[in-house]
């Protein structure tokens, strides 16, 4: 090891706090990014496995207008058109209450399965003909058999859309390879007829699988089939379907990644701060080395070497912590996907090498990037012993106008980028970063002004010590400015995210307030909270509508259909007299919207749908219906915060005209005048009894449940925000502690001149407290700017929502308090250390 490297390592060893906190900063940043990425990748991998196991080797699917198609299409394909191989599929989900788990159900024709999913039917030893002929039987794959503790001949009680059904285990599937074992995890296999009966879709199929070669002959066959299929049916590529579903979570996962990068950015400022500090502290030492003939390049190498060591140790620790954190986060991510998008079960973390490589790259890269400016500055340390601190401070003061100008230019650039139209989220985050750096650049100038303003007050409150504390911040601006800027950014990030979440919450509360007008809401339990496509059984619906105390009941049908814009969430409503009050339109005149809507000539679309697909009032939307493709004019765009993919709404009458489906996904019930709502809820529950498990909730209960889901989906954001606060806290702690420890000599001089340990303690904590206060105050405008961008630019571009801007004063107060407390705590150790130390030792030359 060269002497320069040895000197460098000893410096780190002599400043364990500094080195340790830097390592911790890197580790936390890496851990958060890796954990989020692992959680995202695991969820994505689980989704892909689930898609793979039901798609198998199928290259194409024949699908209907909505979520299913008539089984006669299959017969037509096989018998009339002679298509081989082709396999009918009924897909769905059941819950097994005894195990508290959800299983995917694959209803298939075992005789047609071999070319598609060879693992279905493998090793069962079951007579397939008998299996098909016996209704209510199921084949359990080995993993499910082990988890459920059932074997051949046992019964299995499941729930489908709230209705309890009993199945009998006809055989155990024993796949002969690892792929098959993985593919069959969380899967129940049954005959297509049993699945149709189980899901109440007799005569319907989810899709028909085909294998068409990717050759001219295959293309020709595809064209022949397309021409021969009845209206409303279509042939799509299987990969396209998987991709479409994956797209649903794109904005969600991208924003999670961006938030995780926030922790890394805060971590970077922490590293920047620490390394800048270590360079500034060693300016004289580096100057000595330069005088002895150490070149600039050697100085640069020495500093970056140190930084790489910090980065490497931090990265290794961060990867480990990331794995642990990911175990928890993957559950949060999965729960959010289940609440908002689709059914997903993630049993284990997917340790993607790319994620780990990203962690290493980010850890080392971010550390190096953050350390470049201070390392570069180190190379400019004057090679002479006559350098004075005052000269350094003069240099910074001279640079202030340039820093402010650069800050203003960067801010203008950031704002310019934000104004670029389009839906590019990455560009928005780049703009956000520009604004953050712009604020950091003007910080020293603002500190000068603030310290000047606060100084008289500090003097009046704390006397000479107060004035000294304020003066000290300005006197060592080259160091204090970096620490304050780092703290400001960290705190501002938490303010920004906090205000964004609160704004979102307030918007959703307002929306629920006006959109939920009925007294009681009824819906079957749905596996995906936001996508209520399960149906209320028709006899049960009749019972509910006839219950005494019910004045009127209006229906909602929610399902996925295909449209010219891709898969579309369609909601059909029967309209009550006051329905107009439950909608607020962003575009369109309600006076004209509703009559046209009732006539079934038009549809209305939600704001996210309009935003995502660039559709406006008067545009035409083509929907695949059971009568073939039909065009609908968009009459209005309404505010809706229930589905970020967007919703298309049509009248129930129009729906029944274009679709064969007569299912009801929910009922909105109005109580008769004078009827107690809670009593009505009880009565409705009693009358339904054990016929179907339904969620019958009062208006208030549904609002509470909705807000609960909202809070649940933002749990992960709250966790990330908390982590950013922790990183910020550590940042301020390390920055201020290092600053104070470095002042040992100055503090010793004060002690020698008669400052008591108590006064010293007050002096140090006053100064760190003042720095915390300044950082906390500065974090508020930056935090609000960040919140504004998150609410009005990033959220809009990600999800298409218009949100209210809600600034809770408590959150702002909390930010200042966090900064202040962290700063005061940071002063404790140096004050304690200096109060106990012998001033004579501190005054000795190095």
């Amino acid at each position: 090891m060269s002497l320069l490297t040895r000197s460098s390592m000893r410096y780190l060893r002599r400043h364990p706090w500094l080195a340790g906190l830097s390592v911790l900063g890197v580790a936390l940043g890496v851990a958060v990014v890796v954990a989020i990425d692992l959680a995202n990748v695991s969820a994505q991998r689980a989704f892909e496995q689930s898609a793979e196991r039901v798609t198998g080797r199928a290259t194409h699917h024949v699908v209907g207008a909505g979520t299913d198609l008539d089984e006669r299409v299959y017969r037509h394909l096989r018998v009339d058109l002679g298509v081989r191989p082709a396999a009918p599929v009924v897909e769905g989900y059941v819950t097994v209450p005894s195990a508290g788990r959800t299983y995917q159900v694959l209803g298939v024709d075992p005789f047609a399965e071999a070319p598609f999913r060879p693992y279905v039917g493998a090793g069962t030893g079951v007579d397939l003909a008998t299996f098909m002929a016996t209704p209510g039987t199921v084949l359990l794959p080995e993993p499910a058999q082990a988890a459920l503790g059932r074997t051949v001949g046992d019964t299995l009680v499941v729930q489908v859309e709230g209705i309890t059904r009993t199945l009998r285990v006809a055989g155990i599937l024993r796949p002969d390879d690892a792929y098959g074992t993985r593919a069959l995890e969380n899967l129940l296999v049954m005959d297509v007829g049993t699945a149709q009966e189980l899901f109440g879709r007799v005569g319907r199929l989810s899709r028909i699988d085909l294998i068409l070669p990717d050759t001219p002959a295959g293309e020709a066959e595809l064209e022949r089939l397309r021409a021969a299929l009845p209206p409303g049916t279509e042939i799509i590529r299987s990969a396209g379907r998987t991709e479409t579903i994956r797209q649903m979570t794109r904005a969600f996962t991208l924003n999670l990644t961006a938030l995780s990068l926030l922790a890394l950015v805060v971590g970077m400022f922490l590293i920047y701060n620490t390394i800048t500090f270590s360079v500034v502290q060693r300016r004289f030492l580096i100057g000595r080395m330069r005088a002895l003939g150490v070149t600039r390049r050697e100085v640069f190498r020495m500093i970056t070497g140190e930084v790489l060591l910090i980065g490497a140790v931090g990265t290794v620790l961060g990867l480990g912590a990331g794995l642990v954190l990911a175990q928890g986060l993957v559950q949060l991510v999965t729960r959010t996907i289940n609440d908002l998008y689709y059914v997903l079960t993630v049993r284990e973390l997917t340790l993607a090498p790319l994620t780990l490589a990203k962690g290493v790259g980010l850890g080392l890269g971010a550390t190096l990037l953050a350390a470049l400016p201070p390392a570069r500055e180190a190379t400019h340390a004057a090679p002479q012993a006559a350098l004075r601190r005052s000269q350094e401070e003069t240099n910074l003061r001279d640079r202030l106008p340039r820093l402010v100008t650069a800050g203003v230019v960067l801010a203008v650039l950031g704002v310019g980028l934000l104004l670029v139209p389009g839906q590019r989220i990455v560009l928005s985050y780049v703009a956000l970063l520009s604004v953050i750096i712009a604020f950091a650049l003007v910080t020293p100038a603002v500190i000068l002004v603030l310290a000047h303003v606060l100084r008289p007050g500090m003097g009046r409150l704390f006397g000479l010590l107060g004035r000294m504390a304020a003066r000290g911040i300005v006197a060592t601006l080259s160091r204090t400015a970096v620490a304050i800027a780092a703290l400001m950014i960290a705190i501002a990030a938490t303010v920004g995210v906090g205000v964004m979440v609160d704004s979102f919450r307030a918007t959703v509360e307002t929306w629920l307030g006006y959109s939920l007008q009925a007294d009681v809401y009824v819906q079957p339990p749905s596996l995906v909270f936001r996508r209520g496509d399960a149906t209320i059984s028709p006899p049960v619906a009749g019972v509910l509508q006839r219950t005494p105390g019910v004045q009127a009941a209006y229906s909602v049908r929610s399902r996925d259909v295909r449209s010219s814009e891709g898969p579309t969430h369609l909601v059909a409503i029967s309209r009550a007299a006051d329905t107009y009050r439950t909608f607020r339109f962003q575009r369109g005149d309600p006076e004209r919207i509703w009559p046209a809507f009732d006539e079934g000539r038009t549809v209305i679309v939600s704001e996210p749908y309009s935003y995502r697909h660039g559709l406006g009032v008067g545009d035409t939307l083509r929907l695949q219906t059971d009568r073939g493709e039909r065009s609908f004019v968009i009459a209005g765009i309404f505010y809706d915060y229930g589905d970020d993919r967007g919703v298309v709404m049509m009248s129930r009458a129009a729906y029944e005209r274009f679709f064969d489906d007569r299912g009801l996904s929910g009922l909105a019930i109005y109580a008769a005048p004078g009827q107690d709502v809670d009593a009505l809820v009880e009565r409705l529950r009693e009358r339904v009894g054990g016929r179907q498990a339904l969620l019958i909730r009062s208006n208030r209960a549904l609002r509470e449940a909705s807000m609960e889901v909202f809070d649940r989906t933002f749990t992960i954001t709250a966790v990330l925000r908390l982590l950013a606060v922790v990183v910020a806290f550590i940042g301020v702690l390390s920055a201020l502690m290092a600053l104070q420890l470095e002042r040992a000599r100055e503090l010793a001089v004060l002690r020698v001149n008669g400052l008591t340990p108590g006064q010293l303690w007050r002096y140090v904590t006053l100064q760190t407290g003042l720095m915390g206060l300044v950082a906390g105050l500065l974090s508020l405008p930056l935090g609000l700017v960040l919140a504004y961008v998150l609410v009005f630019v990033i959220n809009k571009r990600s999800f298409g929502w218009t949100l209210q801007f809600e600034v809770p004063p408590a959150l702002l107060g909390q930010a200042v308090v966090v900064a202040l407390v962290a700063a005061v705590l940071a002063g404790l150790y140096p004050a304690w250390k200096m109060a106990r130390a012998n001033p004579a030792l501190a005054l000795r030359d190095e």
Partner: protein, 246 residues
């Protein structure tokens, strides 16, 4: 550090009879806001090899500026500095740094030892910077330490040493890599009278013993006793270059 020996313009191109150091018309001006301050005004100076020259001057007379220029740390506004046949003012910053590490040894007022290196490592540093890292160099460094009376403190860190001891380590470090010139900037400024005398005697003995050239910059007139030649820097000019001591 191997590049230190290959890229630095070495001495040796000096013609016989030429002085080791030739300074001509050396001027240095600094901008101070709107004004310009001239610290050195056309200084001319020749120093021969093996000479021990003391440059006297009051605070603010430009001594440190002169030292920074002659060591290649800073560049003059005008004029030339030739050392061992190399024109320092024509070199780039990198080349001047490499020249410095090869051919100049420093003794500073504030000792300027590297606190994160042991005493022996501090002496070894100039050797290592010149790419000399073998066992011989280790022995050489320890020999120099023994020479300055600190052979038993090789493993100590500088903060364990007294001021006089630190300056003795600095002397060992200045001589370790066999430089052309030793520059001493107020070498006794931080020492008491007795220790200062001991340190200067040691410096004088070792420099003369090694046949080295030394320029001592100081405001302490007592040091003239050691000098072959005494110069006085006053108002940016060397005004008395004739005084010699037998």
């Amino acid at each position: 550090m191997a590049d230190g020996t290959t890229h630095a313009p070495g001495a040796g191109r000096r013609r016989p009879g030429e002085p080791l150091i030739a300074v001509q018309g050396l001027t240095k001006r600094y901008r101070e806001g709107e004004h310009e301050r001239e610290v050195l005004r056309g200084v001319d100076l020749h120093i021969d090899a093996g000479e021990l020259v003391v440059l006297l001057g009051r605070s603010g007379s430009g001594k440190s500026t002169f030292l920074n220029l002659i060591s290649g740390i800073d560049l003059p506004t005008s004029g030339t500095i030739t050392m061992g046949g190399t024109n320092l003012t024509a070199l780039s910053e990198q080349e001047r740094t490499l020249f410095r590490r090869q051919h100049i040894g420093f003794v500073f007022q504030a000792f300027n030892l590297i606190p994160t290196l042991t005493v022996a490592e501090n002496v070894l540093l100039p050797l290592e910077l010149n790419g000399r890292t073998g066992a011989d160099e280790q022995r050489q460094a320890l020999a120099y330490l023994a020479e300055v009376g600190l052979g038993d403190r090789a493993g100590s860190f500088p903060d364990r040493l007294s001021g006089g001891e630190q300056q003795r380590v600095a002397i060992a470090r200045a001589l370790a890599h066999d430089p052309l010139l030793i520059l001493a900037d107020e070498p006794t400024g931080n020492l008491d009278v007795r220790t200062a005398a001991q340190v200067m005697a040691l410096l004088d003995r070792l420099v003369r013993q090694a046949g080295k050239t030394m320029l001592v910059v100081t405001h302490d007139p007592d040091l003239r006793a050691l000098a072959d030649r005494v110069l006085v820097l006053e108002e940016g000019r060397i005004v008395d270059a004739a005084a010699t001591v037998a």
